[in-house]
Symmetry: C2
Subunit: 338 residues, 2 copies
Amino acid sequence: MRATIIHKPGDIRIEDVPEPKILRPTDAIIRTAATCVCGSDLWDYRGINPVDEPHPMGHEYVGVVEEVGGEVTSVKPGQFVVGSFATSDNTCPNCRNGYQSSCVHREFMSTCQAEYIRVPTADGTLVATPDQPADDLIPSLLTLSDVMGTGWYAAVAAEVQPGSTVVVVGDGAVGLSGVIAAKELGAERVIAMSRHASRQKLATEFGATDIVTERGDEGIARVKELTGGIGADSVLECVGTQESMLQALRSTRPGGNVGFVGVPHGVAIDGQELFFSHVGLRGGPAPVRRFLPDLIDRVLDGRIDPGKVFDLTLPLDEVAEGYRAMDERRAIKALLRP
Amino acid sequence: MRATIIHKPGDIRIEDVPEPKILRPTDAIIRTAATCVCGSDLWDYRGINPVDEPHPMGHEYVGVVEEVGGEVTSVKPGQFVVGSFATSDNTCPNCRNGYQSSCVHREFMSTCQAEYIRVPTADGTLVATPDQPADDLIPSLLTLSDVMGTGWYAAVAAEVQPGSTVVVVGDGAVGLSGVIAAKELGAERVIAMSRHASRQKLATEFGATDIVTERGDEGIARVKELTGGIGADSVLECVGTQESMLQALRSTRPGGNVGFVGVPHGVAIDGQELFFSHVGLRGGPAPVRRFLPDLIDRVLDGRIDPGKVFDLTLPLDEVAEGYRAMDERRAIKALLRP
């Protein structure tokens, strides 16, 4: 089958590799309906994460179950499924506490930009849709496997409530999904920090009430101006740099909360500043599995349309162009069809 | 009047100074019934905080209102009052959000180891008891102005719930008060980390179900052993060092919470470790004022007796011995009677 392999930073190739097989009785094999390139894939592509040897890429996926292992009971061949980028048995204590991305059997998916995918602990990782979804819903369903699930978690971790004032730091696909999540959770005001016209437009379409183009101290001052001088109730940090983390922490009111979902790269938080800020902080790889049933319903009901974050659709064979377009910021997010 | 002045690290003196006066119409003057030495006073005493010039000490107090400014309406001369170590107007947005220790008019009290005390924004800072309390309740009421209020906030920030498993890092007066708070908030299991026999005993009396004497990696391993391998739901960090913060973060289960109330000294939190831990973190100077009415009731009803943390009572004139005894760990906490 065809699969995406990174050879070194900037060098993405589509290659023929053996099809995955059931390795454990809890595995499923799915035929990919759609996959995509994640902002976090760019850490490898840009050489910020080391690429020591060629390896497959991709952790976002929807598809049709092709085959299941002998112990799989909750999904069956022929069903359309959405799965999390992190596998989970959905029965261990961490899963039962709602943190399936800290499952004691967690694996991070990493071979999904391909025609077929092996999914471990399929019963606890995959959620089937009631029927085969209409083709135009596939992009939105695909976002649930990571970016929309992650934006949702950011809003939940930041404790967005009905009536909240929310700031979203980061205007990538996760940040834009965070705007949707904040709106759906009842935020009265959603301030998107963005300086790109196309992303500002999408943020507004998704429910942002204000756009802040300033960054750093000026961005913080602007948020304070918009929030009666004290800062926002909830801030979603969707980037993962020291600058974005400080932007988030310093834009939050005392007693407010930051949900941080950008994988931190070089981030250190000063204990004394955090202390005197009174800000609550929770982050992590999103426990997407917790939110999947609800988010699938919202997509199928037409309440949310996060698939709009895909502004580039390519055949899987052109995956390298997807990475390039995202790296050069010509595209927010590239969807791939095998 | 007599007041406590620090001249340099290790040099605490009782001196004659002018009595405080009403400076603003929102001030009150109180005659001190009892005050005490705080663990955080030792930062100055030990020279960890610089002492550039002689200055008064003390931020914990209960007493009787002597005089009020023209705009004070909620307390009146003759009433017995408990106040927070941080002043608050109790009307600004931060106060209304329950973070009175981030009041826009906040001042930190700093002259309380004295016969008389000026309290700014008295209406929003002080809470009167219904009557003059019995003398044996005064130590417990005094703890509410800081340590018990701070231990309570640690438990609230760590989101202790009925049935929770809680770890308390730090066996000083705040940590011991945190044990009381965890118990009162319904924790099923309270694991106190302590290696001092007298503090272990008090922790157990206050409701601790387990004592862990190990520290560092061994302490974390022991907590994991006691919590089914995953860590505690809630951890109260009541020290403020890098070691204690790591102890707290690494003893918490994924999705659990750390409430940190030890003023951080040299603490830096690695963003990536915090991210992958899924731990929620909130700290800060406790918004004691939020909890005062409830905690006063609990003391007057005899439900809690946090005054037991005072294992040394001295006349104010012997304040220097109070500092020495706490510095040398001969006493948990020293109460001073003017």
